[in-house]
């Protein structure tokens, strides 16, 4: 294990395998050298993945079982080349991530954390009408989704329950989603959306897909929600747009350099809602993800089909 991801996961692994904890080693490289003939699997998470150094240090590596759906920190091409299997945890977290996307949208538009603070601080007793906070409607608004995969589709289905008009951008249009409007350009999607949700995988093509031009098109009343990966957004541009009022608000679960969050975002506590990469952070889903990580490893070592292979 590269890091102490989740106690239930660690316990389940320890029941079945010899678990070596990289984070406890005084000297990581020495530790790997000492054990490199016996390490046949790596368990990691989305943020850590499998670094090139780690891959190079483990000649007997057969499988990487990732506690995430995101694969941006694993060189999948190289794994394929070397015959290393890779598994992830799709589907089990789709609903939770989509729920968080809608939760963040409502939290931004209806200023839920700021209003909760308004009550707890005693401000409500001083002013019955909360005039200092402006609230905006969610129902019926135009929602633009970047990346209409499993998670993007789940977000669309939920937003439709609020009477929202759905548009999307992806590499190619999806014929099964003909009731949603397709935009080949992200800038156009942003220009036609009140709320823009980033739900795509992080790849070389989608790095900074949300740039200054897109943010400006979304505009001073627009809201950006990111439940994908921090690097899909040009973070300094996002911050300056929010500070200057060129963007109306943002709900962010991911950041370019987690767990670091730009100071100016910390200060903007009414139009911005922040979450600590908690999209899949429910008891139910984390357990489901852990079971998949273990299940994939067990399948591999029993010579069976992987449950959720990526490579």
């Amino acid at each position: 294990m590269t890091k102490p991801i989740y106690s239930y996961l660690q316990a389940e692994l320890e029941k079945r395998f010899k678990v070596l904890k990289l984070w406890e080693a005084q000297d990581g490289s020495r530790f790997l050298e000492d054990h490199n003939q016996i390490i046949r699997a790596v368990v990691s998470d989305g943020g850590t993945g499998l670094s090139p150094e780690l891959m190079a240090a483990l000649p007997k590596l057969e499988i990487v079982s990732s506690f995430s759906v995101g694969m941006d920190k694993i060189d999948l091409g190289k794994c394929k080349e070397k015959g290393i299997r890779v598994s992830n945890t799709p589907d089990v977290l789709t609903d939770d991530v989509a729920d968080l996307a809608i939760g963040l949208t409502l939290a931004v538009l209806r200023k839920l954390p700021a209003s909760d603070r308004y009550v707890r601080s005693g401000m409500w007793k001083k002013a019955l009408y909360c005039e200092m906070l402006l609230y905006f409607q969610f129902s019926g608004k135009s929602v633009g989704i970047v990346g209409l995969g499993r998670i993007g589709q789940a977000i669309a289905t939920r937003a439709e329950g609020f009477g929202c008009k759905i548009s999307y951008h992806s590499r190619t249009p999806k014929p099964e989603s003909s009731n949603y409007t397709y935009y080949p350009s992200v800038v156009d999607l942003a220009a036609h959306s009140d709320i823009l949700v980033v739900a795509c995988a992080l790849t070389n093509e989608t790095r900074h897909i949300i740039n200054r031009e897109v943010i400006d098109a979304l505009g001073p009343r627009g809201v950006l929600v990111n439940i994908a990966r921090g690097a899909t957004v040009d973070e300094p541009e996002l911050v300056s747009a929010l500070v200057e009022g060129r963007l109306g608000g943002a709900g962010l679960d991911v950041f370019e350099n987690e767990p670091n969050v730009p100071e100016q975002l910390i200060e903007l506590d009414e139009k911005v809602v922040l979450a600590p990469h908690a999209g899949s952070g429910t008891e139910e889903t984390r357990k489901g993800m852990a079971d998949l990580v273990v299940g994939n490893l067990v399948a591999h070592f029993e010579g069976k089909e992987l449950l959720t292979p990526v490579v």
Binding site: D95, W124, L128, E131, E160
Partner: protein, 312 residues
């Protein structure tokens, strides 16, 4: 206008001032001044604009012999003595429908905020405690949502919750044909025992006061969540507070309270509770539509036309 803040809703105030002679009456923070004012102007006041907080009670109605209409800037009319108005031939209007979506949106927002701990995690990130986060939240999708009062707002909540794969149960005095796909529960305790998240969405009447009592709260249980976007008096607030403090109830999302703006301070240290200052319909969009209805009803009345949204 009987509001407790004269800084209220500039759009509404402007619209009223444009068309009528508007007297702004602060009956809560300046009761003596208000009383003197009423004595001076009692004969000339033909209309009152009330809000969700301060309406037109028997006392006020008695002080205004020429009152013809009460136009409420709210959906709920529990702060207006309807019986007295009917008796005296005073018309009453409210603002139904235009805020239905916003109230339903807030109900869902509260469900998500409580389940996913949105307020505490936002605070954790801002306080630099990200890596110290040691709790998981609860899944929302697929949880059973129980609705008390499947009226316009209740049905709007059901429609939204269904999009998250939530099975819907409901309680009302009788089964509703429109709820054919929902599970009818003949009592509120039944409903509470059979759902994960219980939402109060009915009107406040003498029958529904304290409809959420200790039995209901116990049936909802330590994993259950209560969401109240109805009226504070729907809930036995003392029982709710002790249940939350003792862990007998899993969480609560509250937009309304027994005695607004006073909120039991014991709730302030709890992370499984989200507290809102009665803002269910407080969006810019809904407020504009409500203001237009208030003014529209008043105009219709004084032009002898049919009222747009009469209650009495």
């Amino acid at each position: 206008m009987t509001c407790s803040s004269v800084q209220v809703q500039p759009y509404l105030l402007e619209a009223l001032e444009e068309k009528f002679t508007l007297h702004k009456l602060d009956t809560t923070t300046e009761p003596d001044k208000a009383a003197r004012f009423l004595r001076t102007h009692r004969d000339s006041i033909r209309a009152v604009v009330g809000t969700a907080f301060v309406g037109a009670d028997a006392e006020l109605i008695d002080q205004l012999p020429n009152l013809e209409i009460v136009s409420s800037y709210s959906v709920g009319v529990d702060k207006i003595d309807l019986a007295k108005c009917k008796e005296k031939g005073i018309r009453v209007t409210n603002c139904p429908d235009v805020s239905t979506d916003d109230v339903a949106d807030l109900a869902l927002g509260l469900m998500l905020a409580v389940s996913r701990r949105l307020c505490p995690i936002d605070r954790y990130v801002r306080s630099g405690l990200w890596s110290k986060l040691d709790f998981f939240s609860k899944q929302f999708s697929g949880k059973t949502v129980g609705i008390i009062g499947p009226g316009n707002i209740g049905m709007a909540i059901a429609k939204r919750a269904e999009a998250f794969g939530c099975p819907i149960s409901y309680f009302s005095r009788s089964q509703k044909p429109a709820c054919i796909n929902y599970n009818y529960c003949p009592t509120v305790v039944d409903l509470a025992a059979n759902c994960d998240i219980l939402v109060v969405a009915c009107a406040l009447t003498p029958d529904t006061r304290h409809i959420i009592n200790r039995d209901v709260i116990d049936a909802l249980g330590p994993e259950g969540v209560l969401v109240n976007i109805g009226r504070g008096p729907h809930v036995d607030e003392a029982e709710l507070v002790s249940a939350l403090l003792e862990g007998r109830l899993g969480g609560a999302g509250l937009d309304v309270f027994q005695d607004e703006p006073n909120v039991p301070e014991e709730l302030f240290k709890l992370d499984n509770v989200v507290l809102m200052p009665h803002v269910g319909s407080a969006t810019v969009e809904a407020r504009k539509a409500m203001a237009d209805l208030v003014v529209g009803n008043l105009e219709a009345h004084f032009l002898n036309k049919p009222l747009l949204t009469p209650v009495v």
